[in-house]
Amino acid sequence: MYKKLILLLLLISIISLSFAGCGNKTTTKATSTSAKSKEKVKLIIWGLNPTAVGGGDQAMIDAFNKTHPNMELVPQTPPAGESYTTQDLTKLLTAIAGGTPPDITTIDRFGAGEYAARGALIPLDEYIKKYNFDISNFYKFAIEEASLDGKIYVIPYGTDDRGFYWNKKLFREVGLDPDRPPQTWDELLGYSKKLTKTKGGTYERIGFIPDLGPSKQYIYGFQKGAKYLSDDGKKALLTEKPLQEAFEFMVKAYDIVGGAEKVRAFEGTFQKDANNPFFLGLVAMKDGGSWELGNIARFAPDLDFGVSYIPSPTGAEKVTWAGGWSWGIPKGAKHPDEAFQAIKWIEEEGQFISIEAQAKYNASLGRPFVPGYTANKVWDQKLYETYIPKLNNQRLQEAYKFFMDIFPTAKHRPVTPVGQTLWDELMRATDKAVYHQMSVQQALQVANENVQKALDEFWSKNQNK
């Protein structure tokens, strides 16, 4: 009898506790808005790392707190996270669901659409207008990637694009013109074969692995003009011919140098940073990100390389694909208005303070410094003029300019509520095709079905959105 009673009491207390948790949220919200004008507003931000040596974020945070007497930027490591800059969206997901999100969060623009579609991010158009935030100089693709149904949900922060890197020294070694990269897919395959070197059945070097770098199948799809999704975003179009041809090219690129299984095994031996396979000459050509210039500057300043557009079907399709980071305000953030002011400041001033601190740190170590790109053409020009002339490395200077100049040709991954499913299914289809477990057509058929299922499920639940 008592046992039951006590158990019951415990249960009741737990249930009431959980309700009390819900109640608290609303009351704190009410008080915070009324007391806003007096107290210093603490803005919790996820995505700045004050502990990274030479990262520059601490300098930015200090400057913000100094110039904003009524606000304080509080960088927080997400619960249980080891790092301040996390791409682990599960933490953001649970924080938003639990009603304790940060005021500002970093988010990969690729994932922003999924969050926005589920109502987890606050649309920012109203704030952009209120605070006169000038978005006209942001690259078109960056704003597109940050928007859903005509509303802007995140502010792009930092961007990157992709290109073709080739090792001129190895070109010379096999008798290829070091100053002329391959232009077409066919030419690329020919070069790849020529540059691949084996010894006793194992590789010493591979010419080109189609998805070694960050471009994956998307770059080839973009070159072919593949659409992936219908314009209204409700229909998967993965079985269309352009994408099939892109996949067929990848299969061919694997087969010509020995097949996916052998190539992936060789890939399994690759290391990072100073031992990057491209720096070591283990791969002669690769698709690479603009951010890799920083690594070249640091680890392989003497590398004789060139960058260009990734070779395309006929050589005429000059496109790149771009992505990057952004700042967003999660639903349930306590101080959205101040959060936007902070984002605006970080974009317009903060990031330059951070970059300047990074440059100083690198200079103090005698290292060359290559800044990232900002997603805004005026700001990029400013960075280019400030930092690039100081680089005493012509190859890096040219490469930096190349990656900056091709931003207008950039495409981005479709903004969709099922972005992760789309990505995973395309990767799965790539694997199935290059390992010859399925024909390209079959693999894409399966991917298409799965993506369509995910789309149908989302739209059946969110018809009115």
Partner: protein, 305 residues
């Protein structure tokens, strides 16, 4: 009079009893509350969520048995991942028992410095799984990795381990055997419990080492083996970390284990309801095998008289 006396005694006893009860519950309440909030509540929620469509960010919507139906009828990865998981369980559980027991037998000898060996064999099982995974990615490196290099000395061409769809699961089983030491410690305890007098009696009767093992040691440690079997099955069905870190399910889904699929659905595709349903299906699978093991255990597990 008599009746009255017993009544008061009974009452008094009851009072003490009640006080003790309350004190008892107060003492266990930290655990009890923790259990109710952090274990019981999530378990019950997940049952409820498994009948809903829930993306975490919006309120759940009741969908009846749709999640279960999807899993069984129109989600090929469900069957694929079940196959992978069974493959892993069937290969790894018996091997774990055999290797764990073999090491335990070796380390059950009276040798100088045996404690050092026991420590060495136990050590791998205290390495955190993430560190373990990173370490084994190096060991499994094709061509240049220590494993391939060692096999090369014996003239064996090693497979491409993790990048070969036919070898990836086997590689992960091999890696898990590195942690067989955790079982070894339990077998050792079991072996220590076998009375020495049995061996002495057997020796007098002229039994050799092998006879002694099969007639005395093995029957007497069957409860330990049984325990390891149950725990091994429960643990292996939930294999996740290695695949998550080392292969992310690849190549070509060959290491796409059940819990990895569950995780992807929950945290990558925003399908908490479906993931909860998957979790409950796994729960019943594990329950079934545990039940089966208990049923079959009276045929081979020997608990003494």
């Amino acid at each position: 009079m008599q009746g009255h006396y017993t009544l008061t005694k009974h009452k008094k006893h009851n009072k003490i009893n009640r006080a003790e009860h309350i004190a008892g519950y107060v003492f266990v309440s930290p655990w009890l509350i923790g259990f109710l909030i952090f274990t019981a509540f999530p378990i019950i929620s997940s049952i409820i969520l498994s009948f809903t469509s829930y993306d975490v960010l919006n309120p759940p919507k009741f969908v009846g048995l749709a999640n279960y139906k999807t899993a069984f009828t129109s989600y090929p990865l469900f069957w694929k991942s079940l196959y992978n998981t069974f493959y892993y369980v069937i290969l790894s559980v018996p091997l774990h028992i055999i290797i764990g027991l073999s090491i335990a037998l070796l380390l059950n000898m009276e040798l100088k410095g045996i404690a050092v060996y026991r420590t060495l064999y136990y050590m791998p099982s205290i390495v955190p799984m993430v560190a373990n995974s990173v370490l084994w990615m190096w060991i499994f490196m094709p061509q240049v990795g220590i494993l391939s290099q060692t096999l090369k000395i014996f003239g064996i061409t090693a497979p491409n381990w993790l990048s070969d769809p036919r070898w990836a699961k086997i590689s992960l089983v091999m890696m898990s055997l590195w942690g067989a030491g955790s079982g070894m410690i339990i077998y050792l305890a079991g072996l220590k419990n076998v009375p020495r007098s049995y061996y002495e009696a057997a020796e007098i009767d002229g039994a050799g080492t092998i006879t002694k093992f099969f007639k005395i040691t093995l029957p007497l440690i069957t409860p330990t083996i049984f325990f390891q079997l149950i725990m091994g099955i429960i643990g292996s069905f939930q294999v996740f970390t290695q695949a998550f870190i080392m292969t992310s399910g690849g190549p070509v889904d060959s290491t796409m284990f059940y819990v990895l699929v569950l995780y992807n659905n929950a945290f990558r595709y925003f399908k908490m309801g479906f993931a909860s349903a998957l979790a409950w299906v796994l729960f019943f699978i594990i329950m079934f095998f545990t039940y089966l093991n208990f049923k079959l255990s009276n045929r081979w597990v020997f608990y003494g008289e």
